[in-house]
Protein backbone atom coordinates (compact mmCIF):
# COMPACT_ATOMS: atom_id res chain seq x y z
CA UNK A 1 0.00 0.00 0.00
CA UNK A 2 2.99 2.34 0.08
CA UNK A 3 2.93 5.14 -2.49
CA UNK A 4 5.46 7.80 -3.33
CA UNK A 5 2.91 10.63 -3.31
CA UNK A 6 2.10 12.12 0.07
CA UNK A 7 -1.52 12.16 1.20
CA UNK A 8 -3.39 14.88 -0.63
CA UNK A 9 -4.17 17.85 1.61
CA UNK A 10 -7.81 18.92 1.68
CA UNK A 11 -7.03 22.30 0.23
CA UNK A 12 -3.88 22.05 -1.89
CA UNK A 13 -1.94 25.10 -3.10
CA UNK A 14 -3.41 25.07 -6.62
CA UNK A 15 -7.07 25.30 -5.64
CA UNK A 16 -8.36 28.16 -3.52
CA UNK A 17 -11.84 26.62 -3.03
CA UNK A 18 -13.03 25.04 0.17
CA UNK A 19 -15.14 21.86 -0.10
CA UNK A 20 -18.22 23.90 0.81
CA UNK A 21 -17.61 26.36 -2.02
CA UNK A 22 -17.06 23.48 -4.41
CA UNK A 23 -20.38 21.87 -3.52
CA UNK A 24 -22.14 25.26 -3.95
CA UNK A 25 -20.64 25.63 -7.43
CA UNK A 26 -21.60 22.08 -8.35
CA UNK A 27 -25.21 22.76 -7.34
CA UNK A 28 -25.22 26.04 -9.28
CA UNK A 29 -24.04 24.24 -12.41
CA UNK A 30 -26.79 21.64 -12.05
CA UNK A 31 -29.49 24.33 -11.85
CA UNK A 32 -27.96 26.21 -14.77
CA UNK A 33 -28.04 23.08 -16.98
CA UNK A 34 -31.71 22.56 -16.16
CA UNK A 35 -32.60 26.15 -17.01
CA UNK A 36 -30.72 25.96 -20.32
CA UNK A 37 -32.46 22.70 -21.33
CA UNK A 38 -35.94 24.04 -20.51
CA UNK A 39 -35.25 27.31 -22.32
CA UNK A 40 -33.93 25.50 -25.38
CA UNK A 41 -37.03 23.29 -25.53
CA UNK A 42 -39.34 26.30 -25.15
CA UNK A 43 -37.56 28.28 -27.85
CA UNK A 44 -37.25 25.53 -30.44
CA UNK A 45 -40.80 24.20 -30.03
CA UNK A 46 -43.36 25.28 -32.61
CA UNK A 47 -46.07 26.58 -30.28
CA UNK A 48 -48.48 27.31 -33.07
CA UNK A 49 -48.50 23.72 -34.31
CA UNK A 50 -48.55 22.37 -30.78
CA UNK A 51 -51.69 24.27 -29.88
CA UNK A 52 -53.35 23.08 -33.09
CA UNK A 53 -52.27 19.41 -33.27
CA UNK A 54 -51.14 18.36 -29.81
CA UNK A 55 -53.05 20.39 -27.24
CA UNK A 56 -55.95 21.69 -29.23
CA UNK A 57 -58.29 23.18 -26.58
CA UNK A 58 -61.46 23.01 -28.63
CA UNK A 59 -60.91 19.37 -29.61
CA UNK A 60 -60.11 18.56 -26.01
CA UNK A 61 -63.31 20.14 -24.74
CA UNK A 62 -65.29 18.21 -27.37
CA UNK A 63 -63.82 15.03 -25.91
CA UNK A 64 -64.66 15.87 -22.32
CA UNK A 65 -68.26 14.52 -22.28
CA UNK A 66 -67.01 11.10 -23.30
CA UNK A 67 -64.35 10.93 -20.62
CA UNK A 68 -66.31 10.17 -17.42
CA UNK A 69 -67.85 7.02 -18.87
CA UNK A 70 -64.53 5.88 -20.35
CA UNK A 71 -62.79 6.67 -17.08
CA UNK A 72 -65.24 4.51 -15.15
CA UNK A 73 -64.90 1.70 -17.70
CA UNK A 74 -61.11 1.74 -17.44
CA UNK A 75 -61.42 1.50 -13.66
CA UNK A 76 -64.00 -1.26 -13.95
CA UNK A 77 -61.91 -3.45 -16.29
CA UNK A 78 -58.80 -2.84 -14.20
CA UNK A 79 -60.34 -3.64 -10.83
CA UNK A 80 -62.15 -6.73 -12.13
CA UNK A 81 -58.89 -7.99 -13.63
CA UNK A 82 -56.95 -7.17 -10.47
CA UNK A 83 -59.43 -9.05 -8.26
CA UNK A 84 -59.08 -12.16 -10.37
CA UNK A 85 -55.30 -11.71 -10.69
CA UNK A 86 -54.94 -11.46 -6.93
CA UNK A 87 -56.96 -14.63 -6.30
CA UNK A 88 -55.11 -16.58 -8.99
CA UNK A 89 -51.81 -15.06 -7.89
CA UNK A 90 -52.26 -16.17 -4.28
CA UNK A 91 -53.14 -19.66 -5.47
CA UNK A 92 -50.09 -19.79 -7.75
CA UNK A 93 -47.78 -18.42 -5.05
CA UNK A 94 -48.98 -21.11 -2.65
CA UNK A 95 -48.48 -23.72 -5.36
CA UNK A 96 -44.95 -22.50 -5.96
CA UNK A 97 -44.17 -23.00 -2.28
CA UNK A 98 -46.01 -26.33 -2.05
CA UNK A 99 -44.30 -29.44 -0.78
CA UNK A 100 -45.75 -31.31 -3.76
CA UNK A 101 -43.26 -31.05 -6.62
CA UNK A 102 -45.93 -31.33 -9.32
CA UNK A 103 -47.72 -28.21 -8.03
CA UNK A 104 -44.46 -26.28 -7.94
CA UNK A 105 -43.73 -27.36 -11.49
CA UNK A 106 -47.21 -26.45 -12.77
CA UNK A 107 -47.10 -23.01 -11.15
CA UNK A 108 -43.63 -22.32 -12.52
CA UNK A 109 -44.74 -23.35 -16.02
CA UNK A 110 -47.81 -21.09 -15.77
CA UNK A 111 -45.74 -18.12 -14.63
CA UNK A 112 -43.08 -18.57 -17.30
CA UNK A 113 -45.69 -19.02 -20.03
CA UNK A 114 -47.95 -16.05 -19.32
CA UNK A 115 -45.07 -13.77 -18.40
CA UNK A 116 -43.42 -14.60 -21.67
CA UNK A 117 -46.17 -13.98 -24.22
CA UNK A 118 -47.69 -10.59 -25.15
CA UNK A 119 -50.88 -9.83 -23.21
CA UNK A 120 -52.51 -9.14 -26.58
CA UNK A 121 -52.37 -12.85 -27.47
CA UNK A 122 -54.20 -13.75 -24.28
CA UNK A 123 -56.88 -11.14 -24.90
CA UNK A 124 -57.45 -12.51 -28.39
CA UNK A 125 -57.46 -16.09 -27.12
CA UNK A 126 -60.06 -15.39 -24.45
CA UNK A 127 -62.29 -13.59 -26.95
CA UNK A 128 -61.94 -15.92 -29.93
CA UNK A 129 -60.07 -19.14 -29.06
CA UNK A 130 -62.14 -20.07 -26.01
CA UNK A 131 -65.42 -20.13 -27.95
CA UNK A 132 -63.85 -22.21 -30.72
CA UNK A 133 -62.05 -24.69 -28.49
CA UNK A 134 -64.56 -25.17 -25.69
CA UNK A 135 -67.73 -23.60 -26.92
CA UNK A 136 -67.49 -21.20 -23.99
CA UNK A 137 -68.94 -17.82 -24.79
CA UNK A 138 -68.45 -15.25 -22.08
CA UNK A 139 -71.32 -12.79 -22.24
CA UNK A 140 -69.96 -9.84 -20.29
CA UNK A 141 -67.14 -7.73 -21.67
CA UNK A 142 -65.96 -6.91 -18.16
CA UNK A 143 -65.67 -10.62 -17.42
CA UNK A 144 -63.75 -11.21 -20.64
CA UNK A 145 -61.38 -8.37 -19.82
CA UNK A 146 -60.96 -9.59 -16.25
CA UNK A 147 -60.21 -13.11 -17.41
CA UNK A 148 -57.70 -12.16 -20.09
CA UNK A 149 -55.85 -9.47 -18.15
CA UNK A 150 -56.20 -11.34 -14.86
CA UNK A 151 -54.57 -14.47 -16.29
CA UNK A 152 -51.55 -12.46 -17.41
CA UNK A 153 -51.28 -10.29 -14.33
CA UNK A 154 -51.59 -13.26 -11.96
CA UNK A 155 -48.30 -14.61 -13.29
CA UNK A 156 -46.51 -11.45 -12.18
CA UNK A 157 -48.44 -11.16 -8.92
CA UNK A 158 -47.64 -14.77 -8.00
CA UNK A 159 -43.95 -13.96 -8.23
CA UNK A 160 -44.32 -10.75 -6.24
CA UNK A 161 -46.21 -12.58 -3.48
CA UNK A 162 -43.80 -15.49 -3.36
CA UNK A 163 -40.81 -13.17 -3.14
CA UNK A 164 -42.55 -11.14 -0.43
CA UNK A 165 -43.39 -14.16 1.69
CA UNK A 166 -39.92 -15.60 1.31
CA UNK A 167 -38.34 -12.27 2.20
CA UNK A 168 -39.70 -12.52 5.75
CA UNK A 169 -36.68 -13.68 7.77
CA UNK A 170 -36.60 -17.37 8.66
CA UNK A 171 -36.01 -16.47 12.32
CA UNK A 172 -39.48 -14.90 12.52
CA UNK A 173 -41.04 -18.22 11.53
CA UNK A 174 -38.84 -20.22 13.90
CA UNK A 175 -39.72 -17.93 16.80
CA UNK A 176 -43.43 -18.34 16.09
CA UNK A 177 -43.16 -22.13 15.76
CA UNK A 178 -41.07 -22.34 18.95
CA UNK A 179 -43.98 -20.70 20.81
CA UNK A 180 -46.29 -23.47 19.65
CA UNK A 181 -47.96 -21.69 16.71
CA UNK A 182 -49.03 -23.99 13.89
CA UNK A 183 -47.79 -23.44 10.35
CA UNK A 184 -51.05 -21.74 9.35
CA UNK A 185 -51.20 -19.61 12.49
CA UNK A 186 -47.59 -18.50 11.88
CA UNK A 187 -48.48 -17.50 8.32
CA UNK A 188 -51.49 -15.44 9.38
CA UNK A 189 -50.05 -13.82 12.49
CA UNK A 190 -46.39 -13.28 11.65
CA UNK A 191 -45.50 -13.85 7.99
CA UNK A 192 -48.33 -12.30 5.95
CA UNK A 193 -48.49 -8.98 7.85
CA UNK A 194 -44.77 -8.53 7.27
CA UNK A 195 -44.97 -9.73 3.67
CA UNK A 196 -47.79 -7.25 3.01
CA UNK A 197 -45.49 -4.32 3.57
CA UNK A 198 -42.76 -5.87 1.44
CA UNK A 199 -45.08 -6.49 -1.53
CA UNK A 200 -46.86 -3.14 -1.37
CA UNK A 201 -44.55 -1.24 -3.77
CA UNK A 202 -44.33 -4.01 -6.42
CA UNK A 203 -48.09 -4.64 -6.13
CA UNK A 204 -48.72 -0.95 -6.80
CA UNK A 205 -46.59 -1.32 -9.92
CA UNK A 206 -48.70 -4.29 -10.96
CA UNK A 207 -51.93 -2.35 -10.52
CA UNK A 208 -50.58 0.60 -12.51
CA UNK A 209 -49.43 -1.69 -15.32
CA UNK A 210 -52.82 -3.35 -15.31
CA UNK A 211 -54.56 0.03 -15.54
CA UNK A 212 -52.67 0.72 -18.74
CA UNK A 213 -53.09 -2.83 -20.08
CA UNK A 214 -56.86 -2.45 -19.74
CA UNK A 215 -56.63 -0.53 -23.03
CA UNK A 216 -56.22 -3.91 -24.75
CA UNK A 217 -59.97 -4.60 -24.48
CA UNK A 218 -60.42 -2.54 -27.67
CA UNK A 219 -59.14 -5.68 -29.45
CA UNK A 220 -62.25 -7.60 -28.39
CA UNK A 221 -64.59 -5.14 -30.05
CA UNK A 222 -66.56 -2.81 -27.84
CA UNK A 223 -69.74 -0.83 -28.19
CA UNK A 224 -69.77 2.91 -27.53
CA UNK A 225 -70.85 2.72 -23.91
CA UNK A 226 -68.10 0.17 -23.24
CA UNK A 227 -65.29 2.44 -24.45
CA UNK A 228 -62.39 2.87 -22.10
CA UNK A 229 -59.90 5.75 -22.16
CA UNK A 230 -57.50 4.59 -24.88
CA UNK A 231 -60.33 3.75 -27.27
CA UNK A 232 -61.70 7.27 -26.86
CA UNK A 233 -58.25 8.68 -27.58
CA UNK A 234 -57.74 6.50 -30.65
CA UNK A 235 -61.11 7.45 -32.09
CA UNK A 236 -60.32 11.12 -31.58
CA UNK A 237 -57.08 10.50 -33.44
CA UNK A 238 -59.03 9.26 -36.48
CA UNK A 239 -61.40 12.22 -36.49
CA UNK A 240 -58.96 14.29 -38.46
CA UNK A 241 -59.05 17.49 -36.45
CA UNK A 242 -56.89 18.19 -33.46
CA UNK A 243 -54.11 15.78 -34.43
CA UNK A 244 -52.76 13.96 -31.38
CA UNK A 245 -54.77 15.98 -28.86
CA UNK A 246 -57.01 13.03 -28.02
CA UNK A 247 -54.07 10.91 -26.95
CA UNK A 248 -52.71 13.61 -24.69
CA UNK A 249 -56.09 14.09 -23.08
CA UNK A 250 -56.50 10.41 -22.23
CA UNK A 251 -52.87 10.25 -21.14
CA UNK A 252 -53.72 12.90 -18.58
CA UNK A 253 -56.80 10.88 -17.55
CA UNK A 254 -54.57 7.83 -16.92
CA UNK A 255 -52.34 9.94 -14.71
CA UNK A 256 -55.42 10.89 -12.72
CA UNK A 257 -55.70 7.19 -11.81
CA UNK A 258 -52.08 6.17 -11.44
CA UNK A 259 -50.62 9.13 -9.55
CA UNK A 260 -53.13 8.90 -6.66
CA UNK A 261 -52.45 5.15 -6.57
CA UNK A 262 -48.77 5.83 -6.07
CA UNK A 263 -49.51 8.34 -3.32
CA UNK A 264 -51.88 5.92 -1.61
CA UNK A 265 -49.27 3.15 -1.73
CA UNK A 266 -46.61 5.36 -0.19
CA UNK A 267 -49.05 6.37 2.54
CA UNK A 268 -49.90 2.72 3.32
CA UNK A 269 -46.24 1.80 3.29
CA UNK A 270 -45.48 4.45 5.88
CA UNK A 271 -48.43 3.42 8.03
CA UNK A 272 -47.74 -0.30 8.04
CA UNK A 273 -44.01 0.10 8.04
CA UNK A 274 -43.89 2.37 11.03
CA UNK A 275 -41.14 1.09 13.28
CA UNK A 276 -41.17 -2.39 11.87
CA UNK A 277 -37.89 -1.70 10.17
CA UNK A 278 -35.02 0.65 10.67
Amino acid sequence: MSTTTPTTPRNPEGSRLTPKQKSRISQGIQYAVLVVVVAALALTANWDRISKNLFNPSVASDLLPMLPNAFVNTLKYTLAAFALALLLGILLALMRMSSVALYRWLATAYVEFFRGIPAMLVVFSVAYALPIAFGIKIPSLTLKAALALGIVSSAYIAEVLRAGIQAVPRGQIEAARSLGMSHTRTMITVVLPQAFRIVLPPMTNELILLTKDSSLVFLIGVSAEQFELTKVGRDALNNGTGGLTGLFVVGFAYLCITVPLGILARHLERRFGEGSRK
Binding site: G171, E174, L179, G180, R185, P193, G275, R277
Partner: protein, 252 residues
Protein backbone atom coordinates in the same frame (compact mmCIF):
# COMPACT_ATOMS: atom_id res chain seq x y z
CA UNK B 1 -42.51 -37.25 36.83
CA UNK B 2 -40.38 -35.04 39.08
CA UNK B 3 -37.74 -37.73 39.59
CA UNK B 4 -37.61 -38.56 35.89
CA UNK B 5 -35.34 -36.49 33.63
CA UNK B 6 -37.32 -33.88 31.65
CA UNK B 7 -35.13 -34.37 28.57
CA UNK B 8 -33.73 -37.76 27.57
CA UNK B 9 -31.71 -37.87 24.36
CA UNK B 10 -30.91 -41.39 23.23
CA UNK B 11 -28.41 -42.17 20.45
CA UNK B 12 -29.35 -39.07 18.44
CA UNK B 13 -28.02 -38.81 14.90
CA UNK B 14 -28.59 -35.87 12.57
CA UNK B 15 -27.38 -35.41 9.01
CA UNK B 16 -27.68 -32.49 6.63
CA UNK B 17 -27.52 -34.34 3.33
CA UNK B 18 -24.28 -36.29 3.31
CA UNK B 19 -22.80 -34.45 6.27
CA UNK B 20 -23.44 -35.99 9.68
CA UNK B 21 -23.43 -33.23 12.31
CA UNK B 22 -24.61 -35.24 15.31
CA UNK B 23 -23.05 -38.68 15.67
CA UNK B 24 -24.83 -40.46 18.48
CA UNK B 25 -25.65 -38.10 21.34
CA UNK B 26 -26.79 -39.43 24.73
CA UNK B 27 -27.86 -36.86 27.29
CA UNK B 28 -30.26 -36.49 30.22
CA UNK B 29 -31.40 -33.23 31.77
CA UNK B 30 -33.15 -33.26 35.14
CA UNK B 31 -35.84 -30.86 36.29
CA UNK B 32 -34.33 -27.67 37.69
CA UNK B 33 -30.94 -28.40 36.19
CA UNK B 34 -28.88 -25.85 34.22
CA UNK B 35 -26.83 -27.52 31.50
CA UNK B 36 -24.40 -25.47 29.44
CA UNK B 37 -23.21 -26.82 26.11
CA UNK B 38 -19.86 -25.48 24.93
CA UNK B 39 -17.63 -26.32 22.00
CA UNK B 40 -16.10 -24.91 18.83
CA UNK B 41 -18.37 -23.61 16.05
CA UNK B 42 -19.56 -26.39 13.80
CA UNK B 43 -19.43 -28.90 16.63
CA UNK B 44 -23.22 -29.47 16.42
CA UNK B 45 -24.20 -27.86 19.71
CA UNK B 46 -26.82 -25.52 18.22
CA UNK B 47 -28.22 -28.34 16.10
CA UNK B 48 -28.52 -30.50 19.22
CA UNK B 49 -30.45 -27.75 21.00
CA UNK B 50 -32.74 -27.19 18.01
CA UNK B 51 -33.54 -30.90 17.93
CA UNK B 52 -34.95 -30.66 21.46
CA UNK B 53 -37.95 -28.64 20.21
CA UNK B 54 -37.82 -30.17 16.73
CA UNK B 55 -36.87 -27.00 14.86
CA UNK B 56 -34.53 -29.54 13.32
CA UNK B 57 -35.90 -32.95 12.50
CA UNK B 58 -33.81 -35.86 13.68
CA UNK B 59 -32.30 -38.51 11.43
CA UNK B 60 -32.34 -41.35 13.97
CA UNK B 61 -32.51 -41.89 17.71
CA UNK B 62 -35.13 -40.63 20.15
CA UNK B 63 -35.64 -37.49 22.21
CA UNK B 64 -38.06 -37.71 25.10
CA UNK B 65 -39.20 -34.34 26.39
CA UNK B 66 -41.51 -34.13 29.41
CA UNK B 67 -42.39 -37.78 28.98
CA UNK B 68 -43.20 -37.64 25.25
CA UNK B 69 -41.07 -39.01 22.44
CA UNK B 70 -40.98 -35.97 20.15
CA UNK B 71 -39.33 -37.84 17.29
CA UNK B 72 -42.64 -39.71 16.91
CA UNK B 73 -44.44 -38.03 14.01
CA UNK B 74 -47.80 -38.50 15.71
CA UNK B 75 -46.88 -36.39 18.69
CA UNK B 76 -48.54 -32.94 18.88
CA UNK B 77 -45.33 -30.95 18.56
CA UNK B 78 -47.11 -27.56 18.73
CA UNK B 79 -48.57 -28.43 22.13
CA UNK B 80 -45.20 -29.61 23.37
CA UNK B 81 -43.42 -26.49 22.14
CA UNK B 82 -45.63 -24.34 24.37
CA UNK B 83 -43.86 -26.01 27.30
CA UNK B 84 -40.35 -25.65 25.85
CA UNK B 85 -39.35 -22.00 25.42
CA UNK B 86 -36.56 -20.96 23.12
CA UNK B 87 -34.32 -17.89 23.02
CA UNK B 88 -32.42 -17.27 19.78
CA UNK B 89 -29.08 -15.72 18.97
CA UNK B 90 -30.75 -13.12 16.71
CA UNK B 91 -33.63 -12.45 19.21
CA UNK B 92 -36.25 -12.92 16.46
CA UNK B 93 -38.81 -10.60 18.04
CA UNK B 94 -41.85 -10.25 15.78
CA UNK B 95 -41.10 -7.11 13.78
CA UNK B 96 -44.77 -6.36 13.14
CA UNK B 97 -45.72 -6.15 16.83
CA UNK B 98 -44.75 -4.02 19.79
CA UNK B 99 -43.02 -5.46 22.85
CA UNK B 100 -46.20 -6.23 24.78
CA UNK B 101 -47.87 -7.89 21.79
CA UNK B 102 -44.74 -10.00 21.27
CA UNK B 103 -45.30 -11.37 24.77
CA UNK B 104 -49.07 -11.83 24.54
CA UNK B 105 -49.75 -13.04 20.98
CA UNK B 106 -48.91 -16.71 21.53
CA UNK B 107 -50.61 -16.75 24.92
CA UNK B 108 -53.79 -15.53 23.23
CA UNK B 109 -53.67 -17.50 19.97
CA UNK B 110 -52.09 -20.73 21.19
CA UNK B 111 -52.93 -21.08 24.88
CA UNK B 112 -56.29 -19.30 24.52
CA UNK B 113 -55.69 -17.06 27.54
CA UNK B 114 -57.89 -13.99 27.91
CA UNK B 115 -56.54 -10.59 26.91
CA UNK B 116 -56.40 -9.44 30.51
CA UNK B 117 -54.66 -12.56 31.76
CA UNK B 118 -52.14 -12.58 28.90
CA UNK B 119 -51.39 -8.94 29.52
CA UNK B 120 -50.89 -9.47 33.24
CA UNK B 121 -48.53 -12.39 32.68
CA UNK B 122 -46.61 -10.49 30.00
CA UNK B 123 -46.20 -7.43 32.22
CA UNK B 124 -45.01 -9.60 35.10
CA UNK B 125 -42.35 -11.17 32.89
CA UNK B 126 -41.34 -7.84 31.34
CA UNK B 127 -40.87 -6.56 34.88
CA UNK B 128 -38.80 -9.65 35.57
CA UNK B 129 -36.35 -8.65 32.83
CA UNK B 130 -36.49 -4.96 33.79
CA UNK B 131 -38.46 -3.70 30.77
CA UNK B 132 -41.98 -3.21 32.13
CA UNK B 133 -41.97 0.39 30.89
CA UNK B 134 -41.15 -0.51 27.25
CA UNK B 135 -44.35 -2.39 26.39
CA UNK B 136 -45.33 0.07 23.65
CA UNK B 137 -41.90 0.12 21.99
CA UNK B 138 -41.23 -1.51 18.64
CA UNK B 139 -38.44 -4.12 18.62
CA UNK B 140 -36.39 -1.90 16.28
CA UNK B 141 -36.41 0.87 18.88
CA UNK B 142 -34.63 -1.31 21.45
CA UNK B 143 -30.96 -2.16 21.88
CA UNK B 144 -29.85 -5.72 21.24
CA UNK B 145 -29.64 -6.43 24.96
CA UNK B 146 -33.16 -5.12 25.51
CA UNK B 147 -34.48 -7.13 22.57
CA UNK B 148 -32.97 -10.28 23.98
CA UNK B 149 -34.50 -9.63 27.39
CA UNK B 150 -37.90 -9.15 25.71
CA UNK B 151 -37.32 -12.45 23.90
CA UNK B 152 -36.74 -14.10 27.28
CA UNK B 153 -39.91 -12.48 28.67
CA UNK B 154 -41.81 -13.71 25.59
CA UNK B 155 -40.62 -17.27 26.16
CA UNK B 156 -41.39 -17.06 29.91
CA UNK B 157 -44.91 -15.79 29.22
CA UNK B 158 -45.88 -19.23 27.95
CA UNK B 159 -45.07 -20.59 31.43
CA UNK B 160 -42.66 -23.19 30.01
CA UNK B 161 -41.14 -26.10 31.89
CA UNK B 162 -37.84 -25.88 30.02
CA UNK B 163 -35.96 -22.99 28.41
CA UNK B 164 -33.52 -23.46 25.53
CA UNK B 165 -30.93 -20.73 24.88
CA UNK B 166 -29.11 -20.77 21.54
CA UNK B 167 -26.03 -18.55 21.98
CA UNK B 168 -28.17 -15.80 23.54
CA UNK B 169 -25.36 -13.27 23.93
CA UNK B 170 -23.32 -13.93 20.78
CA UNK B 171 -24.97 -11.16 18.75
CA UNK B 172 -24.69 -8.54 21.50
CA UNK B 173 -22.26 -5.69 21.97
CA UNK B 174 -19.92 -6.61 24.84
CA UNK B 175 -21.32 -4.02 27.26
CA UNK B 176 -24.86 -5.40 26.82
CA UNK B 177 -24.00 -9.04 27.53
CA UNK B 178 -24.08 -8.59 31.32
CA UNK B 179 -27.75 -7.55 31.50
CA UNK B 180 -28.87 -10.66 29.63
CA UNK B 181 -26.64 -13.00 31.64
CA UNK B 182 -27.96 -11.48 34.87
CA UNK B 183 -31.54 -12.31 33.86
CA UNK B 184 -30.48 -15.85 32.96
CA UNK B 185 -28.66 -16.27 36.26
CA UNK B 186 -31.79 -15.20 38.17
CA UNK B 187 -33.88 -17.71 36.22
CA UNK B 188 -31.40 -20.43 37.11
CA UNK B 189 -31.59 -19.48 40.78
CA UNK B 190 -35.39 -19.66 40.64
CA UNK B 191 -35.10 -23.29 39.57
CA UNK B 192 -35.86 -23.05 35.82
CA UNK B 193 -34.64 -26.03 33.79
CA UNK B 194 -32.27 -24.58 31.20
CA UNK B 195 -30.17 -25.85 28.32
CA UNK B 196 -27.76 -23.14 27.22
CA UNK B 197 -25.46 -23.18 24.21
CA UNK B 198 -22.93 -20.50 25.02
CA UNK B 199 -19.43 -19.12 24.60
CA UNK B 200 -19.58 -17.36 27.97
CA UNK B 201 -17.24 -19.56 29.99
CA UNK B 202 -17.60 -17.49 33.17
CA UNK B 203 -21.38 -17.90 33.03
CA UNK B 204 -21.06 -21.64 32.42
CA UNK B 205 -18.63 -22.00 35.33
CA UNK B 206 -20.70 -19.94 37.78
CA UNK B 207 -24.26 -20.86 36.86
CA UNK B 208 -24.31 -24.28 35.20
CA UNK B 209 -24.84 -27.43 37.22
CA UNK B 210 -23.30 -29.41 34.42
CA UNK B 211 -21.17 -28.51 31.40
CA UNK B 212 -21.11 -30.52 28.17
CA UNK B 213 -18.20 -30.12 25.80
CA UNK B 214 -19.02 -31.07 22.22
CA UNK B 215 -16.71 -31.39 19.25
CA UNK B 216 -17.35 -32.80 15.79
CA UNK B 217 -20.83 -34.09 16.55
CA UNK B 218 -20.06 -35.99 19.73
CA UNK B 219 -20.01 -35.24 23.45
CA UNK B 220 -16.32 -35.30 24.31
CA UNK B 221 -16.56 -34.52 27.99
CA UNK B 222 -19.24 -33.75 30.53
CA UNK B 223 -19.38 -33.15 34.24
CA UNK B 224 -19.80 -30.54 36.97
CA UNK B 225 -19.09 -27.04 35.65
CA UNK B 226 -16.04 -26.40 37.82
CA UNK B 227 -14.43 -29.68 36.79
CA UNK B 228 -14.96 -29.42 33.02
CA UNK B 229 -13.89 -25.79 32.80
CA UNK B 230 -11.15 -25.66 35.45
CA UNK B 231 -9.73 -29.16 35.15
CA UNK B 232 -10.76 -30.80 31.88
CA UNK B 233 -9.45 -34.33 31.39
CA UNK B 234 -9.75 -34.56 27.60
CA UNK B 235 -7.07 -33.20 25.30
CA UNK B 236 -9.66 -31.60 22.94
CA UNK B 237 -11.43 -29.85 25.83
CA UNK B 238 -8.14 -28.48 27.14
CA UNK B 239 -7.19 -27.19 23.72
CA UNK B 240 -10.59 -25.50 23.19
CA UNK B 241 -10.60 -23.86 26.61
CA UNK B 242 -7.04 -22.58 26.15
CA UNK B 243 -8.15 -20.91 22.94
CA UNK B 244 -11.32 -19.42 24.40
CA UNK B 245 -9.93 -18.29 27.75
CA UNK B 246 -6.63 -16.92 26.48
CA UNK B 247 -7.07 -16.16 22.77
CA UNK B 248 -3.98 -13.95 22.43
CA UNK B 249 -1.62 -16.73 23.48
CA UNK B 250 -3.39 -19.76 22.09
CA UNK B 251 -1.20 -19.82 19.00
CA UNK B 252 1.94 -20.43 21.03
Amino acid sequence: MSDQPVVIIDDLHKSFGEREVLKGINLKVNAGEVVCIIGPSGSGKSTLLRCVNQLETTTSGTITVLGQDITDENVDIDALRTRVGMVFQQFNLFANMNVLKNCTVAQRKVLGRSEAEAREIAMKNLAHVGLEDRGDARPSELSGGQQQRVAIARALSMSPDILLFDEPTSALDPELVGDVLKVMRELAEEGMTMMVVTHEMAFARDVADRVIFMDDGVIVEEGPAAQVINAPTQERTQQFLRRVLDPTHSGE
